[in-house]
């Protein structure tokens, strides 16, 4: 059952008392554990093998840095754990002891198997739009998502009902979810798809139980996650991605800190600044890697206005809000280092230092294409955007029969492009499954085609204005960790490259880079870029890390029970 958000403003939010390391904390019913802890000033959630503290980083269940023990269950992600009952939470440490046990085997029998007609993985704007259009054509649709609420990144919904009311973006998302529900789309939440097996089989875990999906056709809309940006101090608690901070605010109305610095590349950072200022935070500066737009960018700006005037207006509003909050805009600069101080963090931008509670890093996205790659779909490396792009036809059909892909997991395009692609892929999948596309549906397709073209033009112009160099070795010091999970420093990687190792796999085996819980999501693209530069060869589908299950770490008992 999808959670339907009734937009009633309760005067008193429902509070739940939880225990954290013998402290009693007041949590808002429905917020994430990460939000509760952050709101109480708790930054370090766990310690690593080397004894370093870690806390929330990605805020979306990918980095695995926010692990805590919940009611005796080890290594639960605080950002994906919803506080819906009183719970006892503890800090997690590296390699905990585990007592042996004997006894009758846990129930083992056939794994529960679902055979949906059309399976959609990912309930973001892309997946939701695909669900709506396929259902309109008459197809039976099941949408699964790891999160407790549909909406994905862009349309993530408020999960607490207090303080500030939902905004226009929340409401647009809620309408889309409602439409899908009314049409009879089946929603399955908290479904973690951990593996994809050719030709069209998926392994998932739902509330600690194994499930297998054998759909007739599949649409993959798994979105994206923020790109790693290794600078000194980027693993400190309190340093998080822009997305993580936005998730705290947009789902739980919690601030990442009182005083915040936002650094990165692209308009999302500006939106976050506006939102946090609106929420009462003091944003010291928004640091943008791209140069300040000048007259040379005028044609691009005009193209953006022509393609999507509404979005340009939103951008101007964000700037106005930023100014009203007295947040500086610093162009053509990147964070050079973050240190821990007695009271919080000190972030340096060249010679200038900022004392803050939280630093948000938003240096672009990496497509979450692990399921697509596991299925064997062909990808091309886009050198301009520095990412893999799924090879699809005009409707989103990959080169594997019955597998469609859309949205950010196929290459970054933003929510509007994802929605248009969703409509097209949903219709195409329905048509292949035997549902004719005629009349209004044909019009829908025409409209989606036009919208996709328009928003692609917008995106192209947008990124022309925000063009900035990618991460380079100069951003790191020898001690800077490239691999967060296995704590592999730049020096160690450098040494391996110096010894003559020329492939990602060899460096991985030598240093353990990419062997940790996040599955190499943050370090592998960085290492791939380094290798390409050092060895003078282009990046490609095969130069990076090979796809391998599990897409997310999954409890072994949950694979079969």
């Amino acid at each position: 059952m999808v959670t339907v958000h009734k937009f009633v403003l309760r005067t008193h939010p429902v509070m739940i008392e939880i225990e954290f390391e013998c402290r009693r904390l007041q949590a808002r019913d429905g917020e994430s554990l990460a939000a509760t802890l952050t709101a109480h000033g708790i930054r370090g959630f766990r310690t690593t093998r080397r004894g370093a503290e870690r806390g929330i980083f990605c805020g979306m269940g990918v980095c695995q840095d926010c692990l805590v023990e919940v009611d005796g269950r080890a290594n639960e992600r605080a950002c994906m754990t919803i506080v819906d009952r009183p719970m006892v939470v503890r800090r997690e440490s590296f390699a905990r002891p585990l007592a042996p046990k004997s006894g009758r085997p846990i129930a083992s029998g056939e794994i529960e198997t679902h055979r949906p007609e059309l399976l959609i993985i990912g309930a973001g704007p892309g997946g939701l739009s695909a669900a709506v259009s396929a259902r309109r054509a008459g197809c039976a649709v099941t949408v699964v998502d790891e999160r407790p609420h549909a909406g994905g990144q862009y349309f993530k919904q408020l999960s607490v009902h207090d303080a500030a009311p939902p905004d226009a973006q929340h409401r647009e998302g809620a309408r889309l979810i409602e439409t899908a529900r009314e049409l009879g789309v089946e929603f399955e939440e908290r479904v973690t798809v951990w593996g994809a097996f050719p030709p069209n089989e998926f392994g998932a875990v739902v509330n600690g139980r194994a499930r297998r999906y054998l759909p007739r056709a599949t649409i993959i809309a798994t979105g994206a996650y923020e790109r790693g940006w290794p600078v000194p101090g980027w693993t400190l608690p309190g340093v998080m991605t822009t997305g993580a901070a936005q998730t705290l605010w947009r789902t739980a109305r919690r601030l990442p800190g009182r005083r915040v610095l936002i650094a990165g590349n692209g308009p999302l950072n500006l939106q976050l600044a506006a939102e946090l200022i609106g929420g009462g935070a003091e944003v010291l500066a928004v640091v943008e890697a791209a140069a300040k737009p000048g007259p040379a960018q005028l044609p691009a700006l005009l193209a953006m206005i022509a393609a999507a005037p509404g979005l340009v207006r939103d951008g101007l509003k964000y700037h106005a809000k930023r100014r009203s909050g007295r947040a500086r805009m610093i162009y053509d600069a990147v964070v050079t280092g973050i240190e821990k101080t007695e009271t919080g963090l000190r972030a340096s931008i060249g010679k200038e230092a900022f004392d803050v509670d939280a630093v948000c890093l938003g240096y672009g996205f990496e497509p979450a294409n692990e399921l697509l790659r596991a299925l064997g779909c062909t990808h091309d490396f886009d050198h301009e955007r520095r990412q893999l792009v799924t090879r699809c036809d005009a409707d989103g059909l990959t080169d594997r029969a019955g597998i469609y892909a859309l949205g950010d997991c196929t290459g970054l395009g933003g929510a509007r492009v994802a929605m248009a692609q969703g409509t097209l892929a949903g219709l195409a999948a329905a048509e292949t499954l035997g549902y004719p596309i005629a009349g209004v549906l044909r019009e829908l397709r025409e409209k989606a085609l036009a919208a996709r073209a328009r928003h692609r033009r917008f995106q192209q112009a947008l990124w022309q204005i925000h063009a900035a160099p990618g991460w380079s070795a100069e951003c790191a010091t020898p001690e800077t960790l490239i691999c967060r999970c296995e704590e592999v420093s730049f020096a160690a990687v450098d040494a391996a490259l110096g010894e003559g190792l020329e492939s990602l796999g060899a460096v991985k085996r030598r240093t353990r880079i990419g062997m940790g819980r996040c599955q190499g999501r943050y370090c592998a693209p960085i290492l791939d870029a380094l290798l390409a530069e050092r060895c003078g060869r282009p990046r490609s589908e095969f130069s990076g890390m090979a796809p391998r299950p599990p897409a997310k770490p999954v409890r072994i008992g949950d694979l079969v029970s």
């Binding site: 093998r49 080890a74 290594n75 590296f94 390699a95 905990r96 002891p97 585990l98 007592a99 042996p100 046990k101 004997s102 006894g103 009758r104 085997p105 846990i106 083992s108 794994i111 593996g195 097996f197 089989e201 392994g203 297998r212 596991a374 020898p478 020096a491 160690a492 450098d494 040494a495 110096g498 010894e499 003559g500 190792l501 020329e502 492939s503 796999g505 060899a506 085996r509 030598r510 353990r512 062997m515 940790g516 819980r517 599955q519 090979a546 796809p547 391998r548 299950p549 599990p550 770490p553 999954v554 409890r555 072994i556 008992g557 694979l559 079969v560 029970s561």
Partner: protein
């Protein structure tokens, strides 16, 4: 000592029985390939063993003048201060020459060890190892690193025990810590039938002089506290076969150690060089076509594991080998819970704990032929269901990584080492699901075989001829989960 005796007794029997003609010639310089002045591995076995388990840290290793540069605590410290800026390259990246005396195809453990012993024992240094990807990237870097020698047939015990005993001193030999850890190996008996079969193996092994014994369920529980000792479960523990000096090693380090050693003696290791054709003049090989050009040579050793059939087919040689995907997985790290290696053949899986605290879990092979390195869902499901029952602790741990490797299976589950119908084409393959443990021994005898153009006595029973004569070395029972 025991190992030396086993191998010597076996060889004596072999030499007098089958190779009486050759035995004289061989015995002149000793049986250990010493025509070319190589070191006698039996002497290696006699070297004092390091105290405690596993190998000593790098700093304790004796000086060896043969090595061009040595890893020592000083170089480690110096490089740490320099931020590792001036590490010497571990091996060169040479361009392929136009011609070599011999070319080994495949830079996995077996190929690299072969090159190492060719250079060291047979003074053949104008040789190359060609590899389509990067060295150690195949099954050598994908296996679960179990080292044991408790096979059923004498011929198998001889080669696996030669390998295991070479492992004991490999870190010193290569001046590279391969982290050999003879931590003890158990094979659980979970059915009456299995108990009897393993008892038979144990008898055979003890007759051959191997250090092993059967142990009781109580001893099993003491050695492996995480095992499910509930007598009412589906596969109760009835006892186990125990080889105290079986264990594990570090797979990558074995490849790197041999690569570094071979390179330092002048062997060209050529990575990113895929063989696309084998050149023949009538019934003999004359060279190789590769993605980096044509290489002339009169001797080719094909050591490409799961891809051996495809490479040999380029010379028109068909092998009785099937390729399947075998998979393994690793859990999140926990505090030490198991300090030996446990194989549970009935439930078809096995488990050990890495020095990082991860449980390394190996499972079954896909039940159909394929070249996928990813593994299938049903095979994983099968492994996990069974293992969770025998080791309940793992159900609470997360799986962090899972991978597969393409393994080369023969009908009798024994390797193929030796000559082929094409002159100059040698093959070393069929190690299937359990060849990591054999790397030093396999490289040792294969080098001798290539250098002398006839099978080394220990390799002799593993020739292709056995599939014509029906003289199989049947290990399908003892191999069970053949890792």
């Amino acid at each position: 000592m025991a190992s030396q005796k086993i191998i010597a007794v076996y060889l004596f029997a072999k030499l007098t029985k089958y190779n009486s003609g050759k035995a004289v010639a061989l015995s002149h310089g000793g049986i250990w390939a010493s025509e070319t002045g190589g070191e006698n591995p039996a002497l290696l076995i006699n070297r004092p063993r390091p105290a405690g388990r596993g190998s000593p840290p790098l700093a304790d290793m004796p000086e060896d003048p043969r090595m061009k540069s040595r890893y020592s605590i000083f170089s480690l410290a110096r490089n740490a201060l320099n931020y590792h800026k001036d590490w010497e390259r571990a091996w060169r990246s040479p361009e392929p020459k136009a011609e070599y005396d011999a070319v080994i195809v495949g830079a996995g453990g077996h190929g690299l060890a072969t090159a190492y012993y060719l250079a060291k024992n047979h003074k053949l240094t104008n040789i190359a190892v060609v590899e389509k990807g990067w060295l150690g990237g195949g099954n050598t870097g994908r296996n679960t690193t179990i080292i044991r020698s408790n096979y059923l047939q004498d011929a198998s015990i001889a080669i696996y025990e030669l390998a295991r005993s070479l492992y004991e001193d490999l870190s010193q030999e290569l001046n590279f810590n391969v982290m050999f850890s003879p931590r003890g190996l158990l094979m659980l008996c979970q059915t009456e039938h299995e108990f009897r079969a393993l008892k038979r193996t144990s008898h055979a092994n003890r007759l051959a002089g191997l250090d092993c014994r059967m142990i009781t369920p109580e001893e099993v529980k003491r050695l492996v506290p995480i095992v499910n000792d509930d007598p009412a479960c589906r596969y109760p523990i009835l006892g186990a076969y125990y080889q105290p000096r079986g264990g594990t090693g570090r797979h990558d380090a074995v490849a790197w150690g041999y690569a570094r050693g071979a390179d330092s003696m002048g062997v060209d290791i050529i990575q990113n060089c895929e063989v696309t054709g084998i050149l023949r003049d009538g019934d003999r090989v004359t060279g190789l076509e590769t993605t980096r050009g044509t290489i002339k040579t009169k001797k080719i050793g094909v050591v490409t594991a799961g891809h051996v059939s495809t490479v040999c087919q380029m010379a028109g040689v068909r092998l009785p080998i099937e390729s399947v995907c075998l998979q393994a997985l690793v859990s999140e790290p926990i505090k030490p819970v198991i300090d030996c290696v446990v194989m549970a053949n009935t439930v078809h899986g096995y488990i050990s704990q890495s020095d990082k605290g991860e449980l390394v879990i190996g499972g079954g092979a896909d039940p159909y032929n394929n070249y996928s390195q990813r593994g299938s869902f049903p095979a994983l499901e099968h492994t996990v269901t069974a293992l969770v029952e025998t080791f309940p602790i793992i159900s609470r741990l997360r799986m962090l990584r899972m991978w597969g490797g393409i393994v080369d299976m023969t009908g009798d589950r024994s390797p193929i080492i030796g000559l082929t119908p094409v002159e100059g084409l040698y093959v070393n393959a069929g190690w299937g699901t359990g060849g990591f443990k054999a790397i030093p021994g396999s490289g040792y005898v294969f080098a001798d075989t290539i250098a002398n153009g006839r099978p080394h006595p220990i390799a002799e029973p593993f020739g292709l001829h056995r599939f014509i004569e029906g003289r199989l070395v049947d290990e399908s029972v003892a191999a069970a989960v053949a890792h």
